[in-house]
Symmetry: C2
Amino acid sequence: MAVTLADVAKRAGVSSATVSRVLNGNYPVAARTRQRVLRAVSELNYVVNAYARALAVNMSDMLGVVVNDVSDPFFGLLAGAIQGEASREDLLAVICNTGGSPVEELRYVELLLRQRTRAIVLAGGCVDDADYLTELAGLIDQAASAGTRVVLCGRPPIEGARAVTLNFDNRGGARSLTRHLLAMGHRRIGYITGPPRHSTTTERLQGHREALAQHDVPWDEGLALDGGAFDRERGWEAAARLLALPDRPTAIIGANDSIALGVLAAVRESGLQVPKDVSVAGFDDLPFGLDAYPSLTTVRLPLLDAGRRAGRIAAGLDQAEPGAVSTIRPELIVRDSVAGPAS
Amino acid sequence: MAVTLADVAKRAGVSSATVSRVLNGNYPVAARTRQRVLRAVSELNYVVNAYARALAVNMSDMLGVVVNDVSDPFFGLLAGAIQGEASREDLLAVICNTGGSPVEELRYVELLLRQRTRAIVLAGGCVDDADYLTELAGLIDQAASAGTRVVLCGRPPIEGARAVTLNFDNRGGARSLTRHLLAMGHRRIGYITGPPRHSTTTERLQGHREALAQHDVPWDEGLALDGGAFDRERGWEAAARLLALPDRPTAIIGANDSIALGVLAAVRESGLQVPKDVSVAGFDDLPFGLDAYPSLTTVRLPLLDAGRRAGRIAAGLDQAEPGAVSTIRPELIVRDSVAGPAS
DNA sequence: TTGTAAGCGTTATCAC
DNA sequence: GTGATAACGCTTACAA
């Protein structure tokens, strides 16, 4: 079995309390005693048992981060930034993958609650389902009363829940992107959404529609396709359908960059050119957009920044009132995939 | 404070032992008693304390995954796959970011050892430094004697360490890539390496040199540039230097796809065309290579597969002898970024 | 400055 | 079937 504090104490000829004091350095210990203890520790290769420690102090040194998919750079960037801040406080950031499933998300939150993590960060948008949200609100409540901070990063606040929210202004970002296309002269703009009943999907589509309305462009149901997911595959499929339309759009917006990548591929494969024949735009500004062909016009979300802020609040480095909501502004990034429509 | 087993027991009018039995379902409990207990649990919103539990059973339900950088899809894919398998066994996978620093890596391994995780997966190549490796070997030894499995995924085995190794055949992959370029007629092939003294860097460069030697192409030191890191930036810089050479190469290989992306950009910005003027190739086959322009010829590493295998071993789903080493074969992926040299 | 001993919240081993 | 009770490995009053 593993070496315990008692083993070290015996070897050093002191009490286990003394060993604990040496290791934590929070009480005075004679220099010679300290030496002996430290020697015993290294001779035995002693490693504290985080469980026993956490049980005794009733406080863990972990911080939970729940994301849809670490292999998606959107979440990878967010998670990495959060972990960077956690590490400053010597906290271990646990990153959990839900695969986008609300059920898995709730399961992970419960798992993290069991671990008595210092904080839980829920990153990325979420499904807009009443049952799920009330259940989540319940868990957040439990977390709060157990002293576990909860940070919502990149999703809307939950009514009445004691969580700090850092939301992206998806609506505003989508509005400015669509405005840009309108200003370039586009009137028939295709739009491919993300997963249905998802906060990010809804907010971005709303912004798009608002911009159209502001410019008196009538809403055409047939131009807005349900992508079903935030991935390249779905972007490709939906774009193929849009391009097959008798009166095809002069521009296509993907609800995120991955979808837009699929659109780019579909346009290319149909023998048309971007942006000459069809303009394409995305959302998020993930690194690969720069190397896409043509480089992708998109809306930049400051993910690193947002992740850092969320991480600091979670790690207790920054104060934030439970219930506080702040909004992070996106920025329009104009590149080569958008031009005026062919006249 | 948080609700404890004793609180539940009091409320249900039973002993805490009974509550534990109901929750774990490993002993017979009368149906009526069970009902009462379950009601109390839900009324009080009881959540087990994983620390106390782990302390009592001397076994945690976590699994550690150590990577360089979650926001890099290479690691994201690996980590995601590992976590997927862990989750089948109801294990919580803790993903830790080292940022490529051996010091951080050792720190995280120690942190995970404290948590008494069931297993630790070290993913991705590592620095080839004797001190670091002996220290790591020591930690692996401690892990082994504490019953923590260690899996090395995507890095060379450590001599004598009780860890299971799943390595990529980087040398073989690089060899087949360079052979492909040679077969297309290239003789002046630029090569941009990853970070110095890094297992992946070394193995891939070795394979490249072997292929050159097999085809009697003399080794030209001036064509192999030290990228310094596996990123786009470095690829761009090194490529710019190669392109400025009086007798510039007809093809450039990046030690990974990110470097190759930088090369693509540098070639484009220098007014040359890929593959007409310069061919470009990468390594890893990350998703973005498909959307690069032109689409990237590369060497495919089955990351998802490798991650799954590592995850299954770590989670105890698959048996593997400590010390076992297996090699994962890469596959050449031919796309549009490579053509014959302009004659 | 150091040792003793009482928790921390579970599980597991006995009895009954 | 169920209830006491002793671990599990650590921290921290309280004594000495």
